[in-house]
Amino acid sequence: MKAKTINLPLTKDDVLKLNVGDMVLINGHLITGRDKLHKFFVNEKPSKKQIPFNLEGTILYHCGPIIKKRPKGFETIAGGPTTSMRVEMYEQLIISEYGFRGIMGKGGMGRQTLNALKENGCVYLHTIGGAAVYLADRVKRVVDVWKLEEFGMAEAMWMFDVEDFPAIVTMDAHGRSLHEEIEKSSYTVLKRLIG
């Protein structure tokens, strides 16, 4: 499988060139965020000034990593994706307010997010669920962390510097979703199987 290399931050044009089925290798700074962070963003609406990271053009990675504190800083022990669908009710607003060009996780997301991707020029990237050490080894450095004390290791916002981090585009900015397509085709089979 031939992969496309993408460098963060992404522009809208970069995103529009990506299509469902493309495999990408990501380079640059991305940030993590999962259940608590999504709830916080939507309920508290922190201003961009309050957030210590520049989110413009970067990827929001649904990940609750295992991180170890070393004398020289943090080390990513394991860092695979978590199920994205749990933050479906929040993602639309986060995409439109905070400037992300990519949402990354596993399992895909729903109609609301798909519409937000199209309206804002953003893409959903599906990385490999469970491949936590393979993916941790593609984190060159933990750049910084926010909300560690408050949210804990798994729910904090980490900034990772990644190199050749693999993912597959499963929902693009053109309105296509591989997850919708597979759900539909598997439903036809389900009906046939259960009669």
Partner: protein
């Protein structure tokens, strides 16, 4: 009991960092069956590589080291309370040492305990057995797949699922269809059938401890297990939900007697990272074995 505590820490390490040989072989086989250059094949080759690196570097296969679920088979004379305390102490040590991700969150304060212990956490089931071996099975159940499980009360009109094994089959296919790729397929499915909801959920989880090659002792269930693997793979959801030939590696069904008015079916879903390990400790000869 100090040695036992150390042994339980090693049991955690075994379960978190290495996959049972049957699951690993099944994943390698599934990878070869996917089409060349497909996303499904690429994904599974990364999965297989991840299993290798995790074992080599002794790091957890998946960052979600899950809810630890213990099935303890205890010979007469050993104290359950002492064993429970040892498991809790070992859990704290393992969380720091391996390390595991702290996953125990207080419902009321929303605080993470930081060491994977708390009210009802880890989950521990005890059962007294004959003989002089203490057997501890540990399953690290990731929550992506735990959330994909479902409990059914038959009959269910929408599925045309009646109170029979054909109805059970429909429930299992329905669960996997609803899960799609959200719980990290290829899945291993445990099914429990019986009289009460609390009993069948445990029974379904217990089925996930069976090795893939394990034959059901009831011929009719053995056939249903095989048929269900084929059915599920026809859905085409594929590895990680990218579409493809393998959505399930195995289905295991357990049955208890039911009440005339009840027919509970629980379907427990395991992700491909079906992390289980077993500790066997000879009480008399102090022989210790940890395997998966």
């Amino acid at each position: 009991m100090l040695n036992l505590r150390k042994a339980i820490v090693e049991l955690y390490r075994k379960a978190a960092t290495s996959l049972p040989s049957d699951v690993k072989s099944a994943l390698i086989g599934a990878c070869k069956r996917e089409k060349n250059n497909s996303n499904a094949r690429t994904a599974l080759s990364i999965v297989v590589e991840n299993i290798r690196i995790a074992k080599e570097t002794q790091r957890p296969i998946c960052q979600d080291t899950g809810v630890p679920v213990f099935f303890v088979k205890i010979p007469a004379g050993l104290s359950q309370l002492n064993l429970k305390n040892e498991i809790i102490r070992a859990t704290k040590v393992a969380t720091k040492k391996i390390p595991l991700r702290p996953n125990a969150v207080d419902i009321l304060t929303e605080k993470n305990s930081g060491d994977n212990t708390g009210s009802g956490f880890p989950v521990i089931y005890f059962e007294e057995i004959k003989g002089s071996n203490l057997i501890i099975d540990l399953m690290l159940k990731g929550s992506g797949c735990e959330n994909a499980g479902r409990l059914y009360r038959l009959p269910i009109a929408e599925l045309k699922a009646e109170r029979d094994l054909s109805g059970v089959r429909k429930c299992v296919i329905d669960t996997v269809h609803r899960a799609q790729g959200k719980g990290c397929p290829p899945y291993i499915i445990g099914v429990g059938i019986g009289a009460s909801d609390d009993q069948v959920t445990k029974l379904a989880k217990e089925q996930l401890l069976r090795r893939l090659e394990d034959q059901n002792r009831y011929e009719i269930l053995s056939e249903l297990e095989k048929r269900l693997v084929k059915d599920i793979n026809r859905l085409g959801i594929g590895p990680l939900g990218f579409g493809g030939r393998t959505t399930a590696l195995g289905v295991k069904i357990g049955v208890n007697h039911r009440h005339p008015a009840s027919y509970f079916v629980d379907v427990s879903v395991s992700c491909w990272a079906d992390r289980r390990a077993r500790l066997i400790w000879g009480i008399q000869n102090s022989k210790l074995k940890i395997q998966n």
